[in-house]
Amino acid sequence: MDINLRIAGEAGQGVVSLGEILSGALAASGLHVFTGKSYMSRIRGGLNWTDIRIGSSELFGLRNRIDLLTALTQEALDLLKDDLNPGGIALLDGEAPAEDGLLTLNFSGISKAICGSDLMANTAAAGAVFALLGYNPDSLKNYLSRIFSKKGDDIIAKNCQAALAGYKAAAEKNIKLSAVPAGGVCRYEQLISGADAAGLGAATAGIKLATAYPMTPGTATFNYLAAVSDKYSIVVEQAEDEIAAVNMVCGAVFAGIPAMTMTSGGGFALMCEGLSLAGMMELPLFILLAQRPAPATGMPTRTAQEDLKFALNAGHGEFTRAIYAPGTQQQSYDLTRLAIETAHRCQTPVIMLTDQFLQDAEKNIAPLDDKYNPVDRHLCSNSNPGYKRYALTADGISPRAIPGGDALVVCDSDEHTEEGHLSEDFSVRIAMQKKRMAKAGGLLAEFVHPEFFGTVNAGITLICWGSTYGPCREAVEHLNSEGSTAAMLHFSQVWPLDRKICREFLDKSRRIIVVEGNYTGQFASILREQQIISNHELITRYDGLPFTAEYIVTEVMK
């Protein structure tokens, strides 16, 4: 049992603030909450919305249609009212006369009566939504008291008053949603976005320098790291461009601290030479790449999974890398930690591919561990005067020392000897290229197995990666409840791939469908090339919007 609330209006009108109050209060009421943001690349005007999906069991994605629409403008109402489910309610902020199926309440008026301005209009609207859902206003008031606790009793009292006034104004209309999930079923109150979960993972893993040139949707993680930088002793530096951002990280990890940079496709394009540098110098470079539709500037505030093959092939020359792709907020945290550890263990660049949908999507989950628990940097002592940074080894991994001790650490972007000095010797070149490529074995040794969900030996297996985890999982549940036998195989490590392990999951499925957010089916193509699948169907989406279970089920049934 779940419903979808949508709050829509112009940029700068309070769509986000109202969304935050409501999603927080609903999570505090013991509901499972999953939120998503849809916004335009502008600071004022346009049409933005926040979706808040609430349910009596765990939620993994968004829905297409709306059960309760809160429109802050007439335009938002006009554009979105067709998406209302039968029996759904539209609530308009304003003074327009009510029409059929429409409830109009003047939140600014309520706010002005209480505090003299429309500062509390959002709180009043939240009260009205609670009334339309039939929830107890006390839990909203308790939540408001908590979040405004530092602002003093007067602010708390007025907000509670505004919430109650909004609640009463809606309750007087005697309209309620008929089927609403019961609260008190989820004990996790804290909502966290994919962006913040990745940031927390990085901070606890021991990142000491975070650099970026701001670019949506990577910026959300950069913001998070800045906010916690004093707590975790992180230097957060806004670089003059992405080239500087990646080269600062290369310098910092050379000198011994874990460091990262985050960006989106266009910024990552500028980082490619730095990525290649990390391949040559064997530096533990970690890049968070949050995808959005491209080419070029594309759709800056929308979502996509278009950069998989780019991330896989970025950087001139041949070198190893690992690519992770989280599917949930929990995985954003876990895989960020793992990515930083892997980069250090194998002395190779590691990329985490996420996207706007997951970066912005919030969910109330079991609290993530915020304790500082740094990953192993896999360093050797730097006290040996005869140290060779690139000593040849069987697994390709040379003991890594950092500057400051008797061991001089020499790193070169040219081909180099074991000592790190530049060389044009052909036999040196062959030995070094073999050594660097041998690290693929170390990357595969700790391959993150794909996650299987659903019916064993299913008629339909949906293969997905990254943020399509949730929508695919819900699609599988839906298909199984409708009499199909379906399963999902979700990849959170998309490179390198262990063929044997992957094939074990797929051998008996009759219909394999790869689901991904791009035009060409990039992951499907990689799976074919790696001989993991041969015959398959493809469900793609490239309009800039996230997948939903309904979208996938409709495509499967076609």
């Binding site: 021991g206 000491k208 320098l209 650099t211 930088s229 004093d230 002793s233 992180i234 230097v235 530096e237 670089a239 003059e240 461009d241 080239i243 500087a244 951002a245 080269n247 600062m248 990280v249 290369c250 310098g251 910092a252 990890v253 050379f254 000198a255 011994g256 601290i257 874990p258 460091a259 030479e273 730095g274 540098l277 110098m281 740094p374 940097r377 950092i402 500057p403 400051g404 001790g405 008797d406 001089l408 650490v409 020499v410 790193c411 070169d412 972007s413 040219d414 000897t417 790190g420 000095h421 530049l422 060389s423 044009e424 010797d425 052909f426 036999s427 040196v428």
Partner: protein, 270 residues
Amino acid sequence: MKNIAVADKQPAWCPGCGNYPILKTLDEALNELNIDRRKLVLVSGIGQAAKLPHYTKANVFNGLHGRALPAATGIKIANHELEVVVTSGDGDIYGEGGNHFIHTLRRNVGLKLFVHNNQVYGLTKGQASPTSDLGFVTKIQIHGVILQPFNPMALAIAEDCSWVARSFSGTPEHLKAMMKEALNHRDGMALLDILQPCFSFNHQNTFKWYRERVRPVDPSHDPFDREAALRLAMKFGDEIPVGVIYRSKRKSFESQLEALKDSTLVSRCN
């Protein structure tokens, strides 16, 4: 297949190249100041000058073309107790890395930047560099350079770099004095632009050409006087001032970072 490892150990520079005295002078300056090579990191980009770190004893980060400064900044953030010296050419620092040059000056990172400025591209064989004189004819600029020459001194003063000086590879004693003063400089960035002839590709700005033009800055010049410094920085022609041109009391980047207040970041990674 011929093993050419021996050739790798010899400097890749032409006989008579200004890089030789720069290398020798740098070694002398480091030795005379008793700088611990274990705590020294030489950072460079790409170009003939950028090969210098391979021919002496230090920790080395020989990175990408134009990207020495952001890498050096990252090193300084990780461990601000390391002595970080960037040695690279005019093409690398002023051309390919121009944006980083501007913003590293703005940050005032506590690194020493020694730019080997021969006003020409050596490694790619003779094209114009950002500092090439107007009218300088090359295989590419066949009618002569028409772009305004880049003025690193004036730009550094405009961005309030904390120590700005110029020297000439043909006057090793002056060069050594400047390098030592730069190495002793604390609290912020030290930029030393080193004029250097290129015998193979620059037949206009020759050893003789520089020697006839360089003039030590008058002892009465107050480097903390920004306007006077800017007037000196604008001189490049019949007379080229060498010496400390500008100083400022600006704080260094790393001294203002919250996270570095107590100790180096690298010492707090466990």
